[in-house]
């Protein structure tokens, strides 16, 4: 208490720094970068909530095979492991692209994005091959409720990856044409978030659908 009065006497208006942080935190709007990133983060979370509905329907319907094949008879874990490797590495190279954008290196950025694109396409090709193989074996989405929910869940992730690749190519073109402008960098931040979030969903997917499905 004595210290406080002393500090006031020396003309320090806020000796305990009570107002310090709150005053600064509420002063004016946040920079556009922060607002954009936060808004996109909210979108990603809503996307994850949507995926949770697909997961819930899959979990409810996983036993309803209508006399058809079960997951353990259909899934090829080697294929899934390669798919997982592709997505993991593409997430890493996407991170490298963010670093390259941070140091404004056009060449490294384009190279890292190109590798990300190739890995994403490899993932899609493997998934497409798996799907067409299932349909050819008579285990298409119309066979049973289990397979309907399987194709809906995994296919929804595949559609997200396809959209992500289109976005990736757009970003490569924009950075090539416009350089590392502030608005392009904001879009890059959002793209990196999107691509990493897809990887998180894939982790849930290969664990719940493929590994648990083939264990049971």
């Amino acid at each position: 208490m004595a210290d406080t009065t002393l500090a006031f006497a020396h003309g320090d208006a806020d000796p305990l720094r009570l107002a310090g942080e709150s005053v600064v935190a509420h002063d004016g709007p946040a920079p556009k970068r922060i607002v954009t990133g936060y808004g996109f983060w909210i979108f990603l979370l809503s996307d994850i909530v949507m995926f949770s509905c697909f997961f819930a329907s899959y979990a409810v319907l996983v036993g309803q095979t209508a006399g058809g094949p079960r997951g353990s008879q259909l899934f090829d874990l080697k294929n899934v492991a390669v798919e997982t490797g592709c997505l993991l590495l593409s997430s890493f190279t996407c991170g490298l692209a963010s670093i390259a954008a941070g140091v404004r290196s056009q060449r490294w950025f384009q190279a890292a994005m190109a590798v990300t694109c190739v890995l994403g396409l490899a993932f899609l090709a493997l998934e497409g091959r798996e799907f067409s193989g299932l349909v050819a074996r008579g285990a298409g989405p119309t066979r049973s409720a289990f397979l309907s929910s399987f194709f809906a869940l995994v296919g929804c992730h595949g559609i997200h990856v396809s959209a992500g690749i289109l976005w990736l190519l757009t970003m490569m073109a924009q950075v090539f044409a416009k350089g590392f402008r502030a608005d392009v960098l904001r879009r890059l931040l959002c793209f990196a978030l999107f691509w990493h979030a897809l990887d998180i969903i894939w982790v849930a997917l290969f664990s719940v659908v493929y590994l648990l499905g083939s264990a049971v």
Binding site: V24, G37, V49, A59, V60, G102, L193, L212
Partner: protein, 130 residues
Amino acid sequence: MSDQVQEMNNHLDVAPGDEDEARVGPRLLGYVVGLGLAILLTATSFFVAGTDLVWQPSIPVAIIVLAIAQMGVHLVFFLHITTGPDNTNNVLALGFGLLIVFLVIGGSLWIMANLNHNMLPMDQLMQMQR
């Protein structure tokens, strides 16, 4: 003055995906560590799923725990969502999202299991409708 405030704001808020470090070395190290941990966890869960070495009923639990751990690794090392004071908004949004996810998945499983349990077996139901 307003420039100064803006500057301090930049220190107080962090966009999701933002990193503390501006230099290449530490950022690269972060991604390498994240990739290493992710590969380790993925390899472990694929190994656990196909092995006879561990007690069989523990396998689903192990796979789910490994998956949650790996999602945490991705969040921290790739999406840079941390518990730092400047990351509060992002963490709060994530917490709310997770709440909804658990409500949707847990609630669906619970309700549908309950319905399944209380429903007559299908053949009896068919007979009643004749």
